[in-house]
């Protein structure tokens, strides 16, 4: 019984030490990206139903004319009132 326990203990000790050794060894990872990629936009196809307009365009529209609400004399009510208030 005691022998079996000693064997299990030694086996556990051995595997743990092996893992620790393996972790210490750092592997160098090199990631490579594509240096150039060409998209042919004209060739792209949209799968499924299209809900947006197929092409982007600017519609011709008339230029907005600014509203000019310049001061216009319509009446003299304040002046008429003032004349009476200053009446003696």
């Amino acid at each position: 019984m005691t022998r079996t326990i000693v064997i299990i203990f030694l086996f556990t000790l051995f595997t743990t030490s092996f893992h620790a050794l393996a972790e210490n060894k750092k592997e160098k990872v090199v990631v490579e990206y594509k240096k150039y990629e060409r998209f042919d936009l004209g060739n792209l196809e949209i799968q499924g139903s299209v809900i947006a307009p197929g092409d982007v365009s600017v519609k011709e529209r008339e230029r907005k004319v600014m509203e000019s609400d310049f001061y216009e004399k319509k009446d003299y009510y304040p002046d008429i009132r003032r004349d009476i208030l200053n009446l003696k």
């Binding site: 600014m66 310049f70 004349d83």
Partner: protein, 508 residues
């Protein structure tokens, strides 16, 4: 010599009479058994020319009596003329109505007008008989009340009556000051007719009424701007500019109207003379910005004062000039107004009265009169101070408001200039000198060149002769230039080919 003696004698009689009346008033005041005491004291004080001292007794009588005597009506007339109708504004309505007095109805009508209750004002003014001495003022007030209520027909009819009554009063009065007062009132009625016609867009009739104001009239410089608006509405921008340029006349220096600058800029804008409009706008900012700042500094420092502005009008021209030339000019303008002159005249009467009273032996009665006169003087100072302050505030607010309006014109011009660039067009011509063919004239207007002449009576009858610049012509664009070069090259190539073929034919 005789005249001097007569004058001395008259002064002596008046003084003696005044003293006797005051003495009688004192006896009445000290007598506990006298009936209708306040009424009798009022008569005596008015007889002695102590109008401001009489106000308190007259007011007491109006409030306490059940009915006033016809003689008291005359006393009221004297008080209203010397001290103004507002002296009775604080009397309760029921007391004013109770006596069926035309003068008190006028006070009530005017008070309701102040309160913007125009219908009530008309109601009480209607109760005054047609032969009353206040008819010119009553008709003017009624006309204004109808106009403000939107009843232009009734307003017009009242103004016409106002004109007739004022004209009759001018012919009836022998005193020059009173004559001048009614002449101004007559012109005010005319101006109100012109304004009424302007509001109802009857511009020819409006102009006819304005043209009746004589050039020698006190009101005439103010009318120029209103006439310019009529011409502007009639699309006669050259005449508008001509009327407004009259304000540049040196003798009209104190009649500076910021609104005239706006109307000038608007007229140039309508004629598409944008550079001229922009130059007027720049000029406005350059002139009125420092003026506005100078005025604002005076106003903000003293806005709570009850007498600062009143005493400002007493400062010498040099002192006012040292504050700011614009303050001096504005004070000159205020001092020329009828309201200021009449109120100031009233203040001087009150001061004279107080000085006389303060020289007398002070018993209870005299002390009471001094106290009442001082109260009236303070009220006059406060009223004048308020008037001047309000005038200045209105002026500064107008400057700021017009500045915004001019800014809108500037923005519009910039927008229009940008549109021209986008469209590749430009306005037909640059600003040039005017021409007689652009001047609109009525049958009674003539054209004079004034070569080497100066006539004072041409003032206010100027017209510019500017051609409208609003027509657009296509401008050379980059594409046009490119096309022209290409055509030129084609032409050159064709010429070369032709000359070569001609050479070939010659050789053959």
């Amino acid at each position: 010599m005789n005249k001097i003696i007569i004058k001395i004698l008259l002064t002596f009689i008046i003084c003696a009479n005044g003293f006797a009346s005051l003495e009688k008033a004192r006896q009445l005041y000290n007598d506990p058994n006298v009936e209708r005491k306040n009424e009798k004291i009022t008569y005596e004080l008015i007889m002695g020319d102590y109008y401001f001292s009489a106000i308190w007794f007259a007011t007491k009588h109006i409030v306490n009596a059940q009915k006033i005597q016809p003689e008291f009506e005359k006393a009221l007339k004297a008080l209203i003329i010397k001290a103004g109708p507002e002296i009775f504004f604080d009397i309760p309505t029921e007391a004013l109505v109770r006596h069926d007095s035309p003068t008190l109805y006028f006070v009530l009508g005017l008070r309701y007008f102040h309160e913007k209750n125009y219908a009530e004002a008309i109601k009480y003014l209607d109760k005054i008989p047609d032969n009353n001495y206040l008819q010119p003022e009553i008709r003017l007030t009624k006309g204004a009340a109808y106009s403000l209520l939107g009843n232009s027909d009734a307003g017009y009819s009242e103004y016409k009556k106002c004109y007739t009554h004022a004209e009759n009063a001018v012919s009836a009065s022998s005193n020059d000051k009173i004559k001048r007062y009614y002449a101004i009132l007559k012109e005010t009625c005319l101006i109100h007719v012109a304004r009424l016609k302007f509001t109802s867009k009857e511009y020819d009739k409006s102009m006819e009424a304005y043209d009746e104001i004589d050039k020698t009239s006190y009101k005439w410089p103010y009318v120029l701007l209103e006439k310019a608006w009529v011409k502007y509405k009639q699309n006669d921008y050259n005449r508008t500019l001509g009327l407004l340029v009259t304000y540049k006349y040196p003798l009209l220096e104190s009649y500076f109207m910021p609104e005239s600058e706006l109307l000038t800029a608007l007229s140039y804008h309508k004629l598409c003379l944008w550079e001229d409009a922009l130059s007027v706008i720049d000029q406005y900012y350059n002139i009125y910005k420092p003026r506005s700042e100078a005025l604002a500094s005076v106003l903000t420092k003293n806005k709570t004062s009850d007498n600062y502005f009143f005493y400002l009008t007493h400062e010498s021209t040099q002192m006012l000039e040292a504050r700011h030339p614009f303050i001096r000019s504005l004070i000159t303008q205020i001092k020329k107004t009828v309201k200021y002159n009449v109120e100031y005249g009233s203040y001087k009467i009150a001061m004279k009265e107080a000085t006389l009273l303060k020289k007398m032996n002070r018993d209870d009665f005299i002390r009471f009169l001094i106290e009442e006169t001082d109260t009236q003087i303070n009220l006059k100072i406060k009223a004048l101070n308020w008037y001047i302050k309000e005038y200045m505030y209105e002026f500064i607010n107008k400057i700021n408001d017009l500045s915004f309006q001019l800014f809108k014109i500037r923005i519009d011009i910039m927008s229009k200039k940008r549109d021209l660039i986008y469209k590749g067009t430009k306005l037909i011509a640059d600003r040039g000198r005017g021409d007689l063919q652009h001047v609109k004239r009525t049958v009674d207007e003539q054209f004079w060149e004034f070569t080497g002449e100066f006539w004072a009576d041409e003032l206010g009858d100027y017209s510019f002769g500017l051609k409208s610049n609003c027509e657009e012509v296509k401008q050379r664009t980059f594409e046009d230039v490119k096309k022209e070069i290409q055509e030129e090259e084609k032409g050159q190539m064709k010429n070369e080919k032709e000359s070569e073929s001609a050479k070939g034919a010659k050789n053959d």
